[in-house]
């Protein structure tokens, strides 16, 4: 307990000392190809959710949530999570599409040594669109460095290559309405396609190539999230402020 308090104290010191540096970094990174709205709070912008069996341990499952799209090449390590945001993976292990377990992450500070703490999977005290930070695990991690919680959950939170692959550029020509969030300006003729098909092999481009996201990766025993009455789970990620 004593050691833990000390770690917390040092993380708090790191939080506040690092603030001016973070502001500087943010200003320098303002050339993101983001929308003004997303650029203001890219830390809340969910990009993808994954769920797969662990390749190394068949009794484990891996859950991934990604946020903060379009971090340019080379800027991953200097991009951090939003400390005002509660990041969650919600799990229905009953079959009624309500969360019966929640797995949460919060971040402390805004510098390169940003701290991360995990809560859950546990039964949430509040469900739905308004939630609270549940009882956290005592282990405090640092972004971009894998760590293990006291309950044996492996965690990584930090910059990763964006794993999503898609010719988004051509998609926006086919469905111009959907381009608005990325360009930040309302498309002139949102219902008027500028193209009617995807591009052929050789011309098609993975728009996300070279871009990074912030990932939160969990690996844990399936038994931590499996329900009593069904082996099926339904998961979704949320960001909240």
């Amino acid at each position: 307990m004593k050691v833990r308090r000390k770690t917390v104290l040092w993380s708090i010191i790191a939080v506040c000392v690092a603030v001016p540096t973070a502001i500087h970094l943010k200003a320098r990174a303002s050339d993101h190809a983001d929308t003004p709205a997303i650029a203001a709070t890219p830390g809340v912008d969910l990009t993808d959710v994954y769920c797969f069996p662990s390749p190394s341990n068949p009794s484990n499952v891996v859950l991934v949530m990604n946020v903060h799209p379009l971090i340019p090449s080379g800027q991953g390590p200097s991009t951090v999570f939003d400390p005002k945001v509660l990041y969650q993976i919600k799990i229905d292990n009953v079959g009624d599409f309500k969360e019966h377990l929640t797995l949460q992450a919060r971040f402390f500070g805004t510098g390169a040594n940003q701290q991360v703490q995990i809560a859950g999977p546990e039964v949430p005290t509040r469900t739905g669109i308004q939630t609270v930070w549940e009882k956290p695990d005592p282990v405090i991690g640092t972004i971009n460095i894998p760590f293990t919680t006291s309950t044996g959950i492996k965690v990584f939170a930090g910059a990763r290559e964006d794993p999503f692959f898609f010719d988004l550029e051509q998609f926006f020509k086919i469905l111009p309405d959907r381009a608005t969030p990325l360009t930040g300006t309302v498309v002139a003729n949102p219902d008027q396609p500028q193209a009617t098909s995807f591009r052929p092999v050789g011309q098609a481009q993975d728009f996300l190539k070279g871009y990074n996201v912030l990932s939160i990766v969990f690996e844990m025993p399936k038994s931590l999230i499996q329900g009593a009455s069904t082996s099926k789970i339904g998961i979704w990620a949320t960001t909240s402020k």
Binding site: I13, V49, G74, V132, F166, D167, V217, I235
Partner: protein, 189 residues
């Protein structure tokens, strides 16, 4: 020096509990209540079906999976029958598979994850479901929306409305650097 650091620590602790580090349940009083801003289950569902116009995207981002039958389902209905021009029967199957918007996995199944594996009884390549990093979910989705996937599975009659140029984006995962070991997602580029 030691004394000074300790004093700074106490001052900063107070600062954090009153806002510097955000809200904290352990700071006494009521815990901060967080309000949902974004929500994501299956990939490319809200993004494809819900228009940015009329705030359809945002409405689905800020509600719950239990709301999808009265919200997202209408977006799918509109998109499938007008933009994509599909039959009502294919539209109904699409809604039945994608609403509510949660990523479904069957933890009792071994083998690789495959997107929509549970919903299709393994037709996409495995019964674990979930979503693997390598899953080409765009081509899977385009096959459902513009292609012959649903008729081919025998879930609805062929409506003859397939649009060949929209059933694949012709992009694979060849430019990605996935890892065999934790954390599996490739290192930043």
């Amino acid at each position: 020096m030691k004394y000074r650091l300790a004093a700074i620590g106490v001052a900063l602790t107070a600062a954090v509990l009153t806002g510097c580090g955000g809200s904290n349940n352990n700071g006494g009083g009521s815990p901060h209540v967080y309000t949902q801003i974004d929500r994501l289950g299956r990939p490319a569902v809200n993004e494809v079906f819900a228009t940015v116009a009329d705030n359809r995207h945002q409405i689905n981002d800020t509600d719950n999976p239990t709301d999808d039958s009265g919200q997202l389902a209408n977006d799918i209905q509109m998109f499938m029958t007008t933009t994509a021009g599909r039959s009502q029967k294919i539209t109904d199957v699409t809604k039945a598979v994608l609403v509510p918007d949660v990523l479904v996995a069957d933890l009792s199944q071994s083998g690789p994850a495959t997107y929509l594996g549970v919903e299709t009884g393994g037709a996409t390549g495995g019964k674990f479901g979930g979503r693997a990093l390598t899953d080409d979910i765009i081509d899977t989705s385009l096959g459902v929306i513009f292609g012959n996937t649903i008729p081919a599975l025998g879930l609805a009659p062929d409506d003859g409305k397939e649009i060949a140029g929209l059933t694949t984006d012709n992009v694979g995962d060849g430019d990605k650097h996935f890892l065999a070991a934790f954390p599996y997602v490739g290192p930043p580029q």
